[in-house]
Symmetry: D3
């Protein structure tokens, strides 16, 4: 978890998923957004930041998925809940299928208690109202009440997976806000976080100007000669 | 409506759609969730419980669906609104098509006035904001402003139908909460409601323990010898 | 913008998207609803009314969509933001693809500053939480954080387009409420707005009666001889 | 079956599904095509013409769909096979779900033996290669090997249904060729068949002219003064 | 590969994918069909039978998927082609995405040369016409010309995967015919193949009777007392 | 049409759509395939090569799309048929909607007569069997019998469009084979055609070796020192 220095974390917290996707776009990465997920119960909570710890589901075969499988401490879903490191984000590859749950309220509460930084599935969670009430951020497609055994068999822990059509490698940085969730390759997080934080300062300046009535030509992007000096002055003035 | 005794109703109210799907799963029923529906206007209202009274739509043929059809008191949609028994849930098979409405604010207000317990369509409702303000729960896919005549012709009352890929027989028990809506076959509701209520008591115990820091291994499911005795003691202590 | 007289605007504000779709249905127009869009951040703001000013996107070719394209004041997206007339609604044809943004918070803030009446895309917006906080209404499919360059190339301004499978001609009247957005052909807006306003008065009467316990037969539609006289009396009484 | 006179049948055989959809379009019917179906095993067989006899499927509930249900002579699927009248087309409403079969080779062979004119499902058939070898035309979405019991419960015979989003009433005329299948309302078949046959004669003339090098302006549609007289002369010459 | 005795292989060759799905259905397995795949280039080749050897794809990250990756002999796609055992079927989990290829003509030719029994992907193959000309059966969704690197990164060999929503464990028996592909759990193949072969003999008898004009009631299923004795006599007569 | 020299044309004819997508991939272009289209009536005809001439459809508004619109020689669909230059490929943006036709047999016959090199729509054609019999190649999603007026209004000629999610600029080179259709930006066609032709020679060598039993390691790609010299020798021997 060392790639996530306090500085990087602070930079991400000041930035947004939208801004980060732009920094990735500039590096040729166009598919890092987890498509189709939203905060459980709507927006409004703090950002989700942490290295990915993954759980891979495959389609469930009926004879292998009786309720008794949960008695096995090696069952990958349950093991994921007890072994995902604190500060990490548990990323579930549910093959974009929200017809059955990826997990529910008790397991997510346990994850929160263990200090996990958040959870994202490209399927859905059951007990969505309960999960919406947790402090830990969670993202899914839509509520999915049926037990995961109905359609999903947990099969692998912490292998590279897909989530909402994005590639996710264990240790990649998972970053979520009200817009959704993006996967930042571990080796790029320092430069992307820095760049996104800088972009955010500039965009805050732009927004203030736009709110004051200025047009975007010359301002955004700053093609007018006067724009960048004005920005530097503004930046100094507000100490950012 | 006799299958819905006060006891069963109380058990369902204490339980959840998620828990009920698990009791059905244990009985080999995996497809009883109405896939893809949500409370109109978001969550937050009381649970929906009642026997199913169904309305079947077929694709509309233009020459049979002028606005004048509503003048006919035998028009199945209007008849459904005036004949769905109090305490029942009106279930509309809209072939999962939300491009036109299944019904709107006036009809749902009338259903509420008549004492109907709720309404669910696998299409959408028009006047969604108005419907969200009713006391009667309603579930749909998404708002659908165009009149139902645009795409849906009401054709049958109280026949077996599909709703969100779930089989629905008249008299099945329809149960909805924030997670969605499940169809409980009438002959199973007593045993499923009882079992779900018991599961809920146990899961409340588990949740309390998890919130207190206990791990799920041995606790959920209760494979540790100490778990069930502790649960019984807790149960006695809180009088459930 | 002359078709939108104060009277028409007032009639639309009293009516709803649902009611307008019915007036269009009576004139043989069944596909004027922008399918699949919702208010950014949920409902609750004032209605959106204005003539359409359109922006057409095509699929992005990678070599033509570096970030530097925004430096060009002729870039159609940026030009749309600075030239969409005040009081108009900017309608974006994003080919129903919400995997990348149609626009973001700064551009929508600028549109608001310029007096634009609203924005609708059949794709998605980035910075959705920020946009939800604007006074200007905006409609999309879902949040879409990646920059539009990822998938969308802005190519045309103010040509006829499709939006959510609805045909949109520049100057058509775009009308949005909590249910969604409908496109009213310019030459029909006067008669449809009038008719919808009248329907709304009658439906308000019907709703009051239904809330008072009356059934819909004979009332809605008013096939009982007594209904229309009662309505006229009610109407006079409440001065509408 | 009296609506299908030998003359109408001959007219339909000379025309095409495409032409018939145009005659329906002129009468305001835009949704009569069974969307998404194709001849089993590809094209190449004779046209399918006959009145609709319908079978309605609903989603299967597991406890009601053991293999033993086929022992019941009242099972609607089996009863459909033995009671669909000779000369009729069996139309199956499979809710557009081809994940399990609507029927298979033995049942379709029996239908052929009974003189049934064809079969269409908006799901799929199992034993597709065997069915492709029958003389009786059959249309489906794609091959679907699993038994219908997996997902489909036959529930109603000869009620109005939807098939591929088209409305189908018992007795409507079902017409199929290589392009697909269209549903002609019974009361319109005489005029549509006549009109389509006439259109076909004219289009054969047009095609001959186009193959000879003439352009379509003035010819198709016949806006040149010379076109219709030339057509009449050609028609007389080839005795049609 | 020992589970596939010559007897079992012969039984499967006499049976069909449809029949096997019924034997699995009787054992509670409803999801073993690889949904949405068809023989490359259409039907007409011999059946595909062999134990599964799997290849798992994840979404491609652009910086990890330059063309040079194929120079690495450990690249899982290339390694799969050289290590899938003779007689096995290579099953590719392409997350149902046919926008880019799972493999192409050269690799499939190599697999054929190595004695591999067949290939199935839930995505698509490039060089489809070339692959259709091989003796080795291959199944996919549709042709997919772009190189797999565009969207798919090969990541794992011979782990449990999903293919067309079916669960596939290495060593499961993969069986394909003109209808599609089914996955038979290894421990069930002996009993399912035997049962399917027996069903096929009976269905051949039934088909002969139906072709001779007999109805299905009492015959299929054999509820008439005379049916099974007649079948036994027929069976003896034709020596099966 | 000068970019398509006889050499380039010959190179494309020797290569394949798959190979061209690889040359584009190397140049950073990943979305040039027209997704979801196939040759009308299946494969087997000569390759389609020509510069793009485009037709843009928007959703049809009913009051603007009576059959009489075709009497207007300025109607864009009809004008496209008479003005698409010989040797060009007519590319239709039908918004991926095959519920109604993009065009039919007479218009495609006229295009063939006029020397047009081919036609592609991301919707469907009516009269598919007739079109399959033409010499001119045509590609679509699936047969679509209803007249285009049902859903599509032709609105623009020869503007940049999307087709099957690919960007198409007038003058881009459209290249189709049995696998599908790819759009080659005009300025890249010379280098891509050359490179693809060279790749094809090498892949023919590889295929011959693989058919002779050689493995792909070291051969494809040619990482063994001996491979390229062997290739050069083979190439000389067969005079390519």
């Amino acid at each position: 978890m060392s790639v996530l220095t306090p500085l990087i974390r602070q930079q991400l917290e000041s930035a947004s998923v939208a801004t980060i996707t732009t920094t990735l776009y500039k590096r040729g990465l166009r598919n890092q957004l987890v498509q189709g997920v939203q905060p459980v119960g709507g927006g409004g909570r703090r950002r989700m930041i942490g290295p990915a710890f993954t759980l891979r589901y495959m389609p469930a075969r009926e004879d292998l998925n009786g309720l008794e499988v949960f008695r096995d401490r090696e069952h990958p879903q349950r093991k994921a809940v007890e072994t995902c490191p604190a500060g990490h984000v548990l990323v579930m590859d549910s093959r974009k299928d929200a017809r059955a749950a990826s997990a529910g309220g008790i397991l997510l509460t346990r994850l929160q208690q263990r200090g996990v930084a958040g959870v994202v599935t490209d399927g859905g969670f059951r007990d969505a109202a309960e999960i919406a009430g947790l402090d830990m951020p969670a993202y899914h497609q839509r509520p999915a009440p049926p037990t995961n055994l109905t359609l999903h068999q947990a099969i692998d822990l912490n292998v590279p997976v897909g989530c909402g059509d994005a590639p996710v490698f264990p240790g990649d940085i998972v970053f979520g806000d009200e817009d959704g969730v993006v996967i930042i390759p571990a080796h790029l997080v320092a430069e992307c976080a820095h760049e996104a934080a800088e972009m955010t300062v500039f965009e805050d300046f732009v927004l203030e100007r736009v709110q004051a009535g200025q047009g975007i030509f010359g301002l955004y992007p700053p093609t007018d000669d006067a724009t960048l000096p004005a920005f530097e002055q503004w930046r100094k003035a507000c100490g950012r």
